[in-house]
Amino acid sequence: MKVSFWGVRGSIPVPGPRTVRYGGNTTCIEVRSDDGTLFILDAGTGIFPLAQKLLAALPVRANIFITHTHWDHIHGLPFFTPLYIPGNEVRIHGAYDIVNGRGIEQVLDVQLQYSYFPIREAEMRAGIEYQTLKVGVGVAVGDAVVTPLLLNHPTINFGYRIECNGKSVFFTGDHEPWRNIYEPEDEGWAEFQHLIEMQQNQLDAALAGIDVLIADSSYTAAEYPSKIGWGHGTLEGNIAWARRLGVKKLVCTHHEPTRSDDDLERVFAAALESCGYTPGAPGEPEIMLSSEGMELVL
């Protein structure tokens, strides 16, 4: 299995001289299973350069898995050029939207409205299919199985576990670890605490044995108190999570859009140090920042 990063930025694309090393495109991760089946996790602006590469070998058979439909994760979808070419097949997977009562088929429908985009879905010539997924129910495609798990964000967000021939990778999409909405002195604290611990334990159990954890690490622990409820994780929190899960590799992604490359490296180094991280120490995961063009082979 091979994992390639095409977009690693959170919230909004930030091209320019401050982000050339890590990249300014929003989330898009390409995963190739052992038999070459193509999985695309999220359709941020990073999906556009990926599309350019894919055009070299037609027809394209793409399995897109949307973690959630916030702009930065679907921004690039109308620019996924294989959608316009007859003979290509694109299957788009995602969650049911409980607030407006629609499945993942709404994603292009909403984006391609007359006022916002000049082309209608009916004019896209590829075969497009939609599959709305259920929590915890894996989808087998080619030689891999993709399992959606419900995480915590201000909209329904699926993290995806991709398993292929005994290797597995998990991408959180956007995720803020569950936290208690009550204060310890409140009546509801203990019951809520029990619920969030149960939820976290269920997630950890579903992630048992993963090799690579790709996690939303937007903030530092010091920045987090002013970002509570925004739906993102921290570098330090994910380091602790990766250690707890015993993963081989942690990839920190969804970089905060105001951070320059230098800032990003600085906060990353500080987080590793504050967590007492020693690269290569027994039992420690390998920890890295995602960057555009980075490839991992499992």
């Binding site: 409980i98 607030v99 929590v135 329904i156 967000n157 909405i181 019951e191 939820q199 409820g229």
Partner: protein, 298 residues
């Protein structure tokens, strides 16, 4: 449960009531508070949850959508808090805003049934049942489930009052004229009691079996008394005895308290001492009064 009641609740009536509840507006106080709270960016999550979980209509609508087949959950969600952990606060907030937009349940309906006093009854029964469960501290009993059972045990009455107003008006008169409990009058006039209708809806909403049974059988002396049902029945008696709110079934002169065996064994002697034993009974009442009454003039 009698055979007659099953026959009387025709599929047509079941469909009519079920669909009607989908469009049923929430209680005035919660609609007003949801609109107020969601305008404030500094609104605390626990404030929002505190409002939603006090409204039977909001609560059933949230539990209904979350337990529907969309996410294919392996186990049922039975509390608003759990729904928040599961779907995230922002999704619950937007669901609640949608329910608030349906309108406001009028205080008085054509049946002459006061929904604010009904709400007060339900809230105090819910809070009391939860307290009893907490005090029993039996490992198998979830206090949160007892709260929901209390909040929703009489939901069938509000459905009658809204959607079978003429029949329910006659039922209330029948109960008064013949000095019989309301559920007996319902059987006589409508042919089915509020427990059965509440349970029918609870099945439709895919509530867990133990909650359905509790709602269905809370007036049936022949039903096998679960610990949850015992807490609910005792709470219901305490609240009726103390004339808090009104569920259309006041304490009758000469009515003998029926203390559930499980609670008698746990050292509860009578309704009066049970009320005293509920540590925060006065606070449960004052919180519920504050919630049920303010805004009732709208």
């Amino acid at each position: 449960m009698t055979t007659a009641s099953l026959i009387t609740l025709t599929p047509e009536l079941e469909l009519k009531l079920g669909n009607a509840v989908e469009r049923m507006p929430a209680f005035p106080r919660s609609v007003q508070q949801i609109l107020d709270l969601t305008r404030r960016i500094d609104c605390l999550p626990k404030q929002l949850v505190g409002v939603i979980e006090k409204d039977p209509v909001m609560t059933v609508k949230i539990l209904r959508v979350i337990n529907s087949a969309y996410y294919g959950l392996p186990s049922r969600i039975t509390s608003v808090g759990h729904a928040v952990v599961f779907l995230g606060l922002n999704t619950i907030k937007n669901l609640a805003l949608g329910f608030a937009a349906v309108g406001i349940l009028p205080r008085m309906n054509a049946a002459g049934f006061d929904v604010q006093r009904y709400l007060l009854h339900s809230l105090v029964v819910a809070g009391t049942a939860r307290q009893l469960a907490t005090q029993l501290n039996d490992g198998t009993l979830e206090p949160g489930d007892c709260y929901i059972a209390g909040l929703l045990h009489d939901f069938g009455k509000i459905v009658f009052a809204e959607f079978l107003a003429g029949e329910f008006l006659a039922t209330l008169a029948y109960a008064k004229a013949n000095h019989v409990p309301l559920n007996v009058a319902e059987q006589a006039v409508i042919g089915v009691d509020h427990g059965m209708v509440g349970a029918m809806l609870a099945v439709r909403w895919q509530f867990p079996e133990h909650l359905v049974t509790c709602i269905r059988d809370h007036h049936d002396p022949a039903a096998a008394p679960s610990l949850m049902m015992s807490c609910l029945r005792l709470a219901d008696q305490i609240v009726r005895y103390h004339e808090i709110g009104d569920s259309g079934n006041p304490w009758h002169a000469g009515e003998e308290p029926v203390l559930p065996d499980a609670l008698r064994e746990a050292g509860v002697h009578d309704v009066e001492s049970a009320a005293r034993s509920v540590g925060s009974f006065e606070k449960i009442i004052s919180d519920a009064e504050l919630f049920a009454h303010i805004g009732s003039e709208r």
